[in-house]
């Protein structure tokens, strides 16, 4: 344990020196020049090269823009530097009310996947002189949840524009199927996450629910290999899963007075009757879904028309009785 801590400390020191060295360099520095300037690298050149390669990867993963190039056209060996302009957060100033809402925005992720990213972002803004801390504000408490294991890899795939493959347990199907997707966006609808994109096997746009993804998500192509079609609005993709807009029909219902509020809320007309029953007309499009919903009201609702809706409700109720 103590050895691990010491190694970690040495590594931090080395990476820190490397960043400072490359940030303050006015020219591209060759690997050899870097080894001479930055303490902590091994003596042999091969061991140094291996460690330096890993260090470069780690810096790039942190978003540090490590550039490669040569100082003159005749230089044969590639050198490295960090351009200060590419490195620095551009000037940003926030008024106190703006800093306060930013602190509240970070709180949205408190229990979710991007919590660390939100905190890291706030830290950089604080480092730019802004007094923004994760705060509460009276009267409002927003939270996003990302309980689905597939959220992290799919967000990365969307962010980096990479195609993915995963096993998918479609609703009403017992065996998961392999799906190949070019992801365009992730969408949260009423607390559930979906991924929308181009389904390569089916050759069309599809939406998948993250909680039905079975097993790991794998990347099947390099970053940047997915093109999101111009004009794609991820807000719309999840709503429009039904394809062509369904035709709307009108149901005629008898609803017991004082009951059936869920149905009455969508009613186009609601006429009180004398016999303890009201006559309600309401639009619907999906007869199957609407029949299920009507069945849930039991003896408080009777379908008069149309006949197929009436039959569907009777079938549901018989099923519950059997």
């Amino acid at each position: 344990m103590r050895l691990g801590v010491a190694m970690s400390k040495q590594k931090t020191e080395r990476l820190l020196s490397l960043v400072v060295c490359l940030l303050s360099a006015r020219r591209y520095l060759t690997a050899g020049q870097i080894r001479d300037a930055v303490p902590g690298y091994p003596e042999t050149f091969d061991a140094f090269k291996r460690m330096f390669e890993r260090d470069k990867d780690e810096l790039r993963e942190l978003g540090i823009p490590l550039e490669t190039g040569t100082n003159t056209g005749t230089d044969e060996e590639v050198g490295y530097r960090i351009s200060q302009q590419a490195y620095e957060l551009p000037e940003i100033r926030l008024e106190p009310d703006e800093a306060a809402v930013l602190g509240l925005a970070a709180r949205v992720w408190r229990q979710a996947e991007l919590a660390g990213a939100a905190a890291g972002g706030l830290l950089k803004l604080r480092a730019a002189g802004i007094d923004a801390e994760e705060t509460t504000q009276p009267g409002i408490e927003p939270r996003l949840q990302t309980g689905e294991a597939a959220f992290a890899p799919l967000w990365q795939a969307v962010r980096d524009r990479r195609p993915v493959a995963f096993g998918y347990q479609a609703a009403g199907r017992a065996v998961p199927q392999r799906r190949n997707l070019e992801p365009w966006g992730v969408v949260n609808r009423y607390g559930r996450w979906y991924v929308a994109g181009f389904d390569r096997d089916r050759g069309e746009e599809r939406v998948f629910r993250l909680s039905r993804i079975d097993g790991p998500v794998s990347f099947t192509g390099p970053p940047g290999s997915v093109t999101v079609p111009a004009g794609t609005d991820v807000h719309k993709t999840v709503q429009d899963t039904g394809g062509a807009p369904p035709s709307v029909r009108t149901a005629v219902l008898r609803i017991r007075t004082g009951a059936g509020y869920g149905l009455r809320r969508r009613a186009s007309s609601d006429r009180p009757g004398q016999d303890g029953w009201d006559l309600v007309e309401a639009p619907f499009s999906d007869a199957g879904w609407y029949a299920d919903y009507i069945a849930s009201f039991g003896a408080d609702v009777v379908v008069l028309e149309p006949a197929d809706l009436r039959e569907a409700v009777i079938r549901r109720l018989k099923g519950a009785l059997a």
């Binding site: 942190l62 926030l94 703006e98 925005a105 939100a118 009276p138 962010r159 809320r265």
Partner: protein, 354 residues
């Protein structure tokens, strides 16, 4: 540039803290027995890179305040400051690019080379903050919408390319909560007014009327709720905004009593209690959505696409409705009493069609 032998003690400790003069900074860098405990080497590197500009942008800042801002102990912060101070580049000429002191508990950076600005925002960082801001801008409630708009614009500008990916994430909240309900809730909260609510309770299929004093607007599990002190129940209640049938802002000041306890949104809104009834359902393939939709205690795969779902609830009336809705795709297994009630409900409903 600072010559390496120019200082005899650490940047903030009095002379004689054990560091040999002239030995260079690296010799004194190790402090036995105290290890940086938080995170990996790269986590700490990120903190170190932010620390210098944090101090530079404030000119002078207290140790305690800075430790709190970075979520570390003062000892850890001192370790970080020492590590920064000890950075030494050896070539072409040895020099120490960072000079700072924390004498008397006040940190000052006198030389920061090219490290005086923070690293730009990464895609994840910009996205997390922008998505959060956009959600807040859409939520009903008392938050400052003008400040939100300004902050979103400034952050998008500062994040540059890193802001683009956030457009690939969309969050839909209750699209069905009428705009006037949202506006009235916001108005009542801003002015501290009592509300009269007509509220639909689907489990009982009832429209209820009550006065309530608003406390907070919550976004949890994709739904927006009004948390309020319900004057009829004399308790804190959560009202889903899309189930509000009607709402009036009363010209009466809201009075939330001191004993009103806010809901802890991080431990889940619906915590089953030991007093609740355990309900077991068996569903066919077409009814598998039940396991996703309701917080279930136990889900058992029965093969052929069938599941057994166990859940706990204080009120079984909604389960009777669910069972009717599932029809042949689901069945209440336990309690037996509940299964009998479902059969009675179905028989009574069918009698209407006879």
């Amino acid at each position: 540039m600072s010559p390496r032998s120019g200082r005899e003690a650490g940047p903030g400790r009095p002379a004689g803290s054990g560091r040999a003069a002239g030995a260079g900074r690296r010799a004194g860098a190790g402090r036995p027995g105290r290890a940086a405990r938080s995170g990996t080497a790269t986590d700490r590197l990120q903190r170190l890179l932010a620390l210098v500009p944090y101090v530079v942008s404030r000119e002078v800042v207290g140790l305690a305040e800075t430790a709190a801002a970075f979520g570390v102990s003062e000892n850890e912060l001192v370790d970080d400051l020492n590590m920064l101070w000890c950075v030494e580049l050896r070539s072409p000429d040895p020099y120490c690019p960072i000079d700072l002191s924390y004498e008397g508990g006040e940190i000052m950076v006198s030389q920061a080379e090219s490290m005086d600005r923070p690293l730009r925002l990464g895609t994840d960082e910009a996205s997390a903050l922008l998505i959060g801001l956009r959600i807040l801008a859409e939520l009903p409630g008392p938050q400052d919408r003008s400040a939100l708009r300004r902050t979103i614009a400034k952050l998008e500008a500062a994040a540059g390319e890193a802001a683009a990916a956030s457009a690939q994430v969309a969050v839909h909240m209750d699209g069905r909560a009428p705009a006037d309900v949202q506006a009235q809730v916001a108005d009542a909260m801003r002015r501290g007014r009592r509300l009269h609510l007509s509220y639909y309770v689907p489990g009982r299929d009832e429209a209820t009327e009550r006065d309530a004093d608003p406390m907070r607007v919550l976004l949890v599990e994709g739904r927006t709720y009004l948390e309020a002190w319900c004057r009829s129940a004399e308790a804190v209640r959560l009202f889903r905004l899309d189930r509000v049938l009607g709402l009036t802002v009363l010209e009466v000041a809201a009075e939330v009593p001191a004993e009103a306890k806010q809901v802890d949104v991080d431990s889940g809104l619906f915590r089953p209690s030991a007093m609740d009834v355990r309900v077991e359902l068996e569903v066919a393939e077409a009814g598998r959505w039940v396991a996703d939709y309701y917080p279930s205690e136990e889900v058992t795969d029965l093969g052929d696409g069938r599941l057994r779902v166990a859940l706990r609830t204080p009120d079984t009336r909604w389960v009777r409705r669910l069972a009717l809705r599932l029809g042949e795709d689901g069945r209440v297994i336990a309690p037996a009493e509940l299964a009998r009630e479902v059969e009675e409900d179905a028989a009574a409903a069918l009698a209407q069609y006879a």
